[in-house]
Amino acid sequence: MKFAPGAAVKVRDDWPEARGPVHIRTPHYLRGRQGTVVRHLGDFANPEDLAFARPASRLPLYHVAFAPEGIWPGGGADLLVEVFEPWLQPI
C-alpha cells in the first residue's frame, strides 16, 4: 500500500480507451486531476482484468477526495471517488 490518508495524489492522465477494448473504472473527468487520499478501502481484484475474464491481481483501492476547483470549468462539486492504486501518482 503506497498512500497514507492525507497523501496528495494525481490521477494519471492516461486514456487506455484509445488503445483498444478496455473496461476502466476511473472516470474520465478525474484524469490528470489532483486529489487527496482519504483512506485505503481494502484490496480488490483488478476490474480491468475481471471484465475480460483474465486472471486479476488484487489492488489497493482508495477513497480519494477532489476539491471542486480544477475539475470542471466554472466550478462544480466536492467529490469523493474510489480509485485503484495504479491510477494514482504521488505529487
Binding site: L61, A77, L79, L80, E82
Partner: protein, 199 residues
C-alpha cells in the same frame, strides 16, 4: 477477445431472453426454478431495510459508530442478508455537510439495503449532472439545503456500495425506532431528499 456477432446481439430483447433462458436450462447452468427463487430473494431487499439501519443509528450511538465503521456488519446485526454482496459503506450527513451518491459509469447501488435501483438513478441525466451540479440535481426533488452546506458527491466507481445516513429531522423527539424508520425514504439514503416529517 473476439466480440460476439452484433447482428445476433441486435435480436429483439424478449426473444434473446427466451433463447438464453432455454439454453441455460438445457445446459443445466440456470434452471427456471432457480430464477423464480432468485427473484423472490432479490425482491426481499427494499428501502425499508436501510431505513431500519438509519433509525437504529439515530437512537443507538454504539450502533451508529459500528455502521459508520462497517456498514456490512451493521446490516448483518439487523438480520439483513449481506453474504455475497459488495461491502457497504455509510456516509454520515452533518450540519454543513450533505452527501449525494451517484454512479457515473453504470448504476452501482446499495441493493442489499435499498433494493433495485430506481429509474432515475440509472438515467443519463442523473449520472451526468450529479458530479457537476449537485444543487441543480437536488432542485429536481425540490430539496433545499441550509445555506453554506457543502455537498459532497460520492461517485460509486468500484467495489463498495454507498448509502447516506441522513440527519434525524426535528420534531421526532421520543419517537420509537419503527416510527423513525417510517420517515426514511430511498431518496434520503442516496441524498436526493431529506427525511421529512409531516405535521
Amino acid at each position: 477477445m473476439a466480440a460476439a456477432d452484433l447482428t445476433l446481439l441486435r435480436t429483439d430483447s424478449d426473444r434473446l431472453l427466451a433463447a438464453v433462458r432455454g439454453l441455460l436450462a438445457a445446459k443445466g447452468i440456470v434452471t427456471p426454478e432457480e430464477i423464480k427463487e432468485r427473484i423472490r430473494f432479490v425482491d426481499e431487499a427494499h428501502p425499508g431495510q436501510g431505513a431500519r439501519m438509519v433509525a437504529r443509528a439515530w437512537v443507538d450511538p454504539a450502533f451508529r459508530a459500528t455502521m459508520l465503521a462497517d456498514g456490512t456488519k451493521a446490516a448483518e446485526l439487523l438480520g439483513i442478508p449481506m453474504r455475497g454482496m459488495p461491502p457497504l459503506g455509510v456516509l454520515e450527513n452533518a450540519p454543513g455537510l450533505h452527501h449525494l451518491v451517484v454512479c457515473t459509469l453504470c448504476s452501482c447501488y446499495p441493493r442489499a439495503v435499498l433494493g433495485y435501483p430506481p429509474f432515475w438513478f440509472k438515467s443519463a441525466a442523473y449520472r451526468a449532472r450529479a458530479v457537476r451540479d449537485p444543487a441543480g440535481v437536488l432542485a429536481e426533488w425540490r430539496t433545499v439545503l441550509p445555506a453554506d452546506t457543502t455537498i459532497r458527491v460520492v461517485d460509486s466507481t468500484a467495489d463498495y456500495r454507498w448509502m447516506v445516513l441522513p440527519m434525524r429531522p426535528p420534531g421526532t423527539e421520543g419517537w420509537s425506532e419503527d416510527r423513525l424508520a417510517g420517515v426514511v425514504t430511498e431518496g434520503d439514503m442516496i441524498g436526493v431528499t431529506l427525511p421529512h416529517v409531516t405535521a
